[in-house]
Symmetry: C2
Subunit: 436 residues, 2 copies
């Protein structure tokens, strides 16, 4: 006998069994419905791109996490590691065709050779949505509202979207002559929720005086309510700067739409990437704060500068589907998805196969999902199969029923039988039983 | 100014613009609905696997088309080139967990470094569905019926599923002592529809006598109807062989379900892979025969023998989504998918932004997909945007309307305006206009 190959998967990769895959589909459908209601449309891009495109100019050595190799034609190619870079390339390529403002979403897998020690996966699904071609409070708010609607549609009740505006920190640092350290400082502040204020202060004092670090920490502190936080910041800055106007407009929208409970103005939100230029935000599940943000993003003033001279401002957000699913499961918010079909036709007699298949077709016409048990086996085996797959109903049609031209419907949950039914009546009874 | 990177994609790869992506989603949804009605459940597997898994034992040199490389940990890995091999590995891995018979579908991308000269793509989407763990006529027919239902659900009227059974050819060749050439001969016959009978005969005569080649060609010819074809074959073989019983049962199901017009018994169907052991089939669009089969498969008696000692018989079929879409487009069977939202709220006054966003929320509650134009611009610009995105309705709410507490609804298709409406009335009017 030949030795067999062990059917293992690569570390950091996962199969998706039906129960998980059905849940993934359900969540995707829920989110896609929200995106569509807001006028977003889907796109897709290749999994493989030229490494030059994905890595940009600095590319060469930078990202050890990327799956990069030479193809048969010795082209230097790589698997995409996020959906933002391919989207930038996409917008540059179709800039003549696409009508701006453009609202797109993209749900797709990305790959990163991350260290799996930290419970990270190397293949995961990103859900990105962006509005490109406009810099306005309306677009900023729309992304925030899609986020709010999405989590509500997923059944999450207790969540909060924390947001800030990067200009405020930038202006604040100018007062101290620290603007040259702006990116380093915002990266440190970005860690506040993870490492705590004390450690942030330690890091800041490597870049500025201890008293300045204290001032920065005071500046990014959330006060009792959003107005107090904003007032404090307005006192420290020129209250006429554009960022305040933008924040004010966004708050008006939040209030008018009755969504105040879902938002919190939080100057400690900065996001790590130097890419963002305006609004930035993160979303926290109040019953699961330790997992960090489940949906984050911000405003950028130029999406595709590596690939085109056209200036493309935009605002967008991103959800990691895998982390979201873990969170929903932990919060018991993911209803068990029904895996089995609605009804099974038991196989009692070989000569009745064609009749079983025809009945199945008629039941499916009525919208029922139907299994025909695929061969004659002991009834106990067939019932056992139905039970394991949690199929609620069975249709019994043997020699006796065949002679009488009737069927028996059995509710496998209650063990109750409905005998001597014409098929149409059995269909109606089945539909009723499934509704109950 | 920095030079820009040309935003190109790899040859053989494609971006999917919203119009295409919406069509892909629609087709996927249609097919998934059919699969679900038949009790199939979805799975997914990683895009990357150990090369050993994907290539099997002979692996080493065999497949130059595969994207294969070493990862950061020097593991020999590759991108999947079909969904069958990963499914075999999957079944071996979860054999203890999965309840048999198992009906799964899998819709996912696969990658092959094929020669793009022939109009082939290097990234494409496969749709596979299989019933594993049983060898029965019922399962065979169920796959055939899923195929029939799928094409009907996609709006294709004129298609035919050609099927045969490999045992018939095998038995026939035994009569001539040609069984050792069984696989080579079936591979030649498999080319009949592509290269024609004359060339097939030339190839056959390299393996057998010219008279034998004539006999083989006569044996695989379709007669005036299925019965005549089958009778001819039964005359040439022992009519008691199992394959005839299986075919007979399948025909009974086809007839009982009223599907005869969609099926044709065709002994020239053999499929190229040596993997199949029973029923084999291909699907042809009668208005587009030149593109070849759009959905093919067959019965195999052991899915996962490389990875497990457990014997897993099964039957399955596969659709190439990209070729299917080209075909539907060529047949004008793909309705244009609406890309734009149902309604746009025009942006007339900065002070009304929050009101626009609230109205949008209310309209979405009613199930309408709604764009808010994201900033104040000339009306001509906003109407132009709506027209380009084929948005049918516009809601107008400026200073005048605001004072009166009403809105104006405009049907952009007919240019008709509905003025002085309360918002609830505008919603109802919009829903009516969209239905018309």
């Amino acid at each position: 006998m030949d030795p067999i190959i062990e059917p293992k998967v690569l570390r950091g990769f996962r199969d998706s069994l039906p129960r998980t895959e059905l849940l993934r589909k359900k969540i995707r459908n829920t989110l896609e419905r929200e995106f569509t209601l807001f006028g977003f449309v889907p796109i897709d891009t290749p999994a493989l791109e030229y490494s030059e495109i994905l890595l940009g100019k600095g590319g060469g050595e930078t990202d050890k996490q990327i799956y990069r190799f030479l193809d048969h034609g010795k082209r230097d190619i790589a698997l995409r590691f996020d959906l933002t870079v391919p989207f930038a390339r996409f917008m540059a390529r179709y800039s003549g065709e696409i009508i701006l403002p453009f609202k797109r979403y993209h749900i797709a897998k990305v790959w990163r050779g991350e260290n799996t020690q930290r419970g990270r996966y190397r293949e995961f699904t990103q859900i990105d949505f962006d509005i490109v071609g406009v810099d306005s409070a309306s677009a900023d708010f729309e992304i925030l509202m899609v986020m709010q609607r999405s989590f509500t549609a997923l059944g999450v009740k207790k969540f909060k979207i924390h947001f800030s505006h990067r200009e405020l920190l930038k202006e604040f640092l100018k007062n101290y002559g620290l603007e040259m350290n702006y990116v380093s400082i915002l990266r440190i502040i970005d860690k506040t929720k993870k490492i705590g204020k004390a450690k942030v202060k330690d890091l800041l004092t490597e870049l500025c005086a201890a008293s300045q670090a204290d001032d920065i920490l005071e500046f990014i502190k959330i006060e009792k309510n959003d107005s107090l936080t904003l007032n404090k910041m307005a006192d420290a800055l020129d209250p006429d700067i554009e960022a305040f106007r933008r924040i004010d407009e966004i708050f008006k929208c939040i209030e008018e739409c009755g969504l105040s409970e879902y938002f919190s103005f939080d100057p400690s939100i900065t996001r790590g990437l130097d890419y963002y230029t305006g609004l930035v935000y993160e979303t926290f599940l109040m019953d699961l704060p330790e997992i960090g943000s489940v949906c984050s993003g911000g405003r950028y003033n130029n999406l595709a500068s590596l690939y085109t001279r056209e200036k493309l401002p935009g605002v967008g957000s991103s959800i990691g589907l895998d982390r979201l699913i873990s969170a929903l499961e932990e919060l018991k918010l993911s209803d068990p998805v029904e895996e089995g079909s609605n009804l099974i036709i038991l196989f009692l007699d070989d000569s009745l196969l064609a009749a079983y298949q025809k009945m199945a077709a008629q039941l499916r016409e009525a919208g029922l999902s139907v299994d025909v048990f695929p061969q004659k086996k002991k009834l106990a085996v067939q019932f056992n199969y139905a039970e394991k797959r949690t199929i609620p109903l069975a249709l019994i049609y043997g020699e006796t029923e065949h002679k009488k031209g009737v069927v028996t419907l059995k509710d496998l949950r209650t063990r109750k039988s409905y005998e001597n039914l014409k098929l149409e009546n059995a269909i109606n009874t089945a539909l009723e039983l499934l509704r109950s």
